[in-house]
């Protein structure tokens, strides 16, 4: 193949909070500065910068990639924004990988930011306008509808109960208790989830990740530079991205084939034949608890309809055979959309280096995966990483 190898060499993150005092620029700077410090680099060492951030409708600035440029370290540098909806944060290292693997940059700073609290009274208001303006918006939909519709179809297709799904929320919120950035870490039970307010059946309040403000950043380097900077580079061995049709109501809602196509691309590149055996640890996107299961199946980490059973059996617990979202995920750490995806990348980075502290999974994991996605249940982004 002869592709240039690309490694993650540093990482930074802010706390994820419901309402941050910092501007989006300041949050971006906090995460980026930490990422540079973590690998003893300065902004001068950075060749190029790429920024991931989701809708302008959250931060409330048209062309917010331009607005955030100074906080992200982009001034006077080649700086570009990418945006693939909920998949943005895991697309960030992919866009960064393009920069470094192409030979255009040796060191690339990758930043992801979201400040959802600016949208008042609730960021949900910005989600009305993700639906088709002519054929759907007149029905006044809310974001939760589309998840509820998909969750119901998923439950019906595979005979899965709300209680089965609630275990994901319980696991992730508990995992998050060990994450310093966590916003909604707590010890809860399946009953707590089932008894929480029903918003759009079958979705209850505790099935959903919160709205959050936060930023995250990583530093990518070419092989030669990475080996000089650290003795523990984490390699990006596979990348995959895929988008399904915008006509979402015409698709099989029980199975995320957009994740499967993205995963197949990443697995091919990484030479992975049996993902369920070769991937030791995974951070699939979990904006809603059933989504973790749905995405595990799309990632082919288990057969269709079987992810809930794995969760019940403890296989996906931090000390299980296949730890899933050991960070605490969007459900526990919080969900500042683009920053969440990059938080997941950072978790795999730390886990593969054995630096995840109290969150460290046992067994010396060497191959991990992070995934994000969604849009109108259509976008998949996957990154496979190895130590």
């Amino acid at each position: 193949m002869g592709m240039r190898k690309v490694a993650i060499v540093g990482a930074g993150i802010t706390k994820f909070v419901r309402r941050a005092q910092e501007t989006g620029k300041e949050l971006s700077w906090q995460a980026s500065k930490m990422a540079l410090e973590s690998c003893d680099l300065t902004l001068d060492d950075i060749d190029m910068v790429t920024l991931g951030t989701a809708p302008d409708a959250f931060d409330g600035v048209h062309m917010k990639g331009e607005y955030l440029a100074d906080g992200a370290g982009g001034i006077g540098k080649p700086y570009m924004r990418h945006f693939v909806g909920g998949g943005t944060g895991v697309f960030s290292p992919i866009h960064g990988w393009f920069h470094v693997a192409s030979g255009m940059a040796d060191i690339c700073l990758v930043v992801a930011e979201e400040k959802m609290s600016t949208c008042h009274p609730h960021p949900a208001g910005a989600f009305l306008t993700i639906f088709d303006h002519t054929t759907e918006q007149p029905l006044m939909p809310t974001l939760i509808w589309i998840f509820a519709l998909e969750m119901n179809r998923y439950m019906q297709t595979y005979g899965i109960s709300k209680a089965d799904i609630a275990q994901v929320s319980v696991k992730n919120k508990r995992n998050a208790m060990d994450h310093p950035s966590a916003q909604v870490a707590e010890k809860i039970t399946v009953e707590d989830v089932l008894n929480s307010e029903t918003l759009c059946w079958p979705v209850n309040r505790l099935d959903i990740s919160p709205a959050s403000d936060g930023a995250a950043a990583i530093v990518l380097a070419s092989e030669r530079v990475a080996r000089r900077l650290t003795d523990k580079p984490v390699w990006i061995d596979g990348i995959g991205h895929s988008i399904d049709t915008a006509y979402w109501a015409t698709r099989d809602l029980a199975y995320p084939r957009y994740v499967e196509t993205a995963a197949r691309m990443a697995y091919d590149m990484a030479g992975i034949k049996e993902p369920d055996k070769e991937i030791h640890i995974a951070e699939p996107y979990d904006p809603f608890d059933y989504k973790e299961l749905h995405h595990m199946e799309g990632l082919m980490l288990c057969p269709r309809g079987k992810a809930a059973q794995l969760t019940a059996d403890g296989v996906t617990a931090r000390d299980g055979n296949m730890p899933i979202c050991p960070s605490g995920g969007a459900l526990g750490v919080g969900n500042p959309i683009a920053a969440t995806g990059l938080m997941k990348i950072i978790e795999i980075f730390l886990q593969l280096r054995g630096e995840a502290g109290k969150r460290q999974v046992p067994g010396d994991p060497r191959c991990g995966l992070a995934q994000a996605g969604v849009d109108l249940m259509q976008m998949g982004t996957v990154v496979v990483m190895r130590s």
Binding site: R19, H120, A124, E136, L139, G214
Partner: protein, 189 residues
């Protein structure tokens, strides 16, 4: 590196900090208004809804009858071939019972839940669903796979909109319900 070794940024504010003016803020309500061109396919779709009909578009190459109609086939990437009316009946592919409005405000205790659904329309290719609302049904009786039929606005009230269909109701509603209409969506836009 360990996250624990760093002092992480991010200063959390409480909602009361805003109300009590402990933090300076500025407000803005952008005036983001649009008039999107409907074009050929959606223009015809809306005109037919006004006439009380649902129209689809056929791709002969893929042998698909597509809804909403489109002038090109996104799979084989060529122009679609023909118009075709489909029925105003269908099957519930999935549904939800929604107690929140579009802006996350909660529906009042006396406001019945909204019943959004994906409905596979009879006559279109298998799986060709559209999002719409359900009505004249007790939410408890809803099931995936249920047959439904469109309830239209009166012809004089139709404007050429997806809302010219008020909602879909079960085809074999056994008992007559007195809740005549589906609930109105709440919250001002």
């Amino acid at each position: 590196m360990k996250l624990e070794d760093f002092e992480l940024g991010g200063t959390h504010l409480k909602s009361s900090d805003f109300k009590q003016g402990k933090v300076l803020t500025t407000e803005w309500e952008p005036n983001l208004k649009y008039a999107w061109d409907n074009g050929v396919a959606i223009g015809r779709y809306l005109a037919e809804l006004k006439a009380g009909r649902i129209i689809a578009r056929i791709c002969h190459k893929c042998d698909r009858i597509m809804l909403p109609p489109r002038m090109f086939c996104e799979l084989c990437f060529r122009p679609t071939d023909e118009w075709m009316y489909v029925k105003d009946t269908g099957v519930i592919n999935t549904f939800s019972i929604a107690k929140v409005n579009w802006d996350a405000s909660r529906r009042g205790p006396k406001e019945p839940p909204l019943l959004p659904a994906v409905i596979e329309i009879d006559g279109a290719s298998e799986g060709m669903g559209i999002m719409h609302m359900l009505g004249e049904v007790n939410p408890k009786d809803l099931k995936i796979g249920m047959k439904v039929k469109a309830v239209w606005k009166k012809p004089e009230d139709r404007t050429g909109s997806i809302t010219d269909i008020l909602y879909f109701k079960p085809v074999t509603a056994k008992r007559k319900t007195k809740t005549k209409a589906a609930p109105k969506a709440g919250g001002k836009r």
